[in-house]
Symmetry: C2
DNA sequence: TGTCAAATTAAAATCATTTTAAATTAAAAC
DNA sequence: GTTTTAATTTAAAATGATTTTAATTTGACA
């Protein structure tokens, strides 16, 4: 954990940004909830527990900044709020998501999966791929069971 | 064009919705701008040209309805507005997008590309895929040339 | 220590979208 | 064909997420 914070601190410094206490508290919340897909409001409420004086606007600005630095990825599952997802250590590409239309759960896929598709796009469309967003909508394992039983 | 409107009319009727003049005007705008990725506001302004009395809320409701009927797909490129994209005739799956980070252009990919990946997800994650959203971010053909020349 | 730029706060503003209540429409029932 | 009824639309207000503003604070550095 500490070493990841150090790393982010260096990334900030390299662009002459500082790791202020508010930013650090925000990053810590993100690290502690790496599996979740928190909205800015979610992050704000959690940060408030350790740093009650923080303002919502600061959280927004911090998340925006981390997003520019590619520390987090801003994603949108179509429910009207942006969610902020910490990029995994050493991850080259953004990970994928499985969104269950029954229960709303969100599962992550670390595996790349798109290597072949990306080559194909570069080859056939002449488009130089830098990043991707892939989300599957469907029924998760748990809900499939429920549906069978009910 | 007329035949596609007829088809949508039938789809509406099958769920006991009507194709009101406002809805028809909205659908016509979507058909006439099939290549674009219009926001609700964009659609509203265009519909207003042929039906000046229409209200923005009606456009929103119509787009929402068409979205439920899978006539259009609601997409989000992360710029804070939803965009509405007419599903191609006979298209089984949602098409993909290539968003250029240089010029902001959006290209569409009709080809499925994800057949293999979807089988893999169903097999390895036990997730029953219903739909997908795939967007590549990168540099389009045109901007690659510009970059080389400048 | 004083200065300056960056960062934060709290409040207000903005922007997309949704909801409300009243008015309109149009199909179905009589 | 008029009445009833439910669906739809309108315009305005409300909501909710996000951004901006202006004033204040912080902290590095001259």
């Amino acid at each position: 954990m500490e070493h990841r914070i150090e790393k982010i601190k260096k990334q900030l410094h390299s662009q002459s940004y500082k790791l202020t206490p508010q930013r650090e508290a925000t990053v810590r919340v993100l690290l502690e909830h790496e599996e979740d897909h928190l909205s800015a409001e979610d992050v704000y409420l959690l940060v408030k527990e350790k740093a009650p004086e923080i303002g919502l606007a600061t959280v927004y600005r911090t998340l925006e900044l981390l997003s520019e630095l590619k520390v987090v990825d801003k994603i949108n599952f179509g429910d009207g709020v942006s969610r902020y997802d910490l990029r995994k250590e050493g991850a080259e590409h953004f990970h994928h998501h499985l969104v269950c239309v029954e229960c709303g759960s969100v599962e992550e896929i670390e595996e790349d999966l798109l290597t072949d598709v990306e080559s194909q796009v570069e080859r056939d469309w002449g488009f130089q791929v830098k990043d991707h967003r892939l989300t599957f909508h469907g029924i998760c394992k748990k809900c499939q069971v429920v549906t069978v039983n009910s």
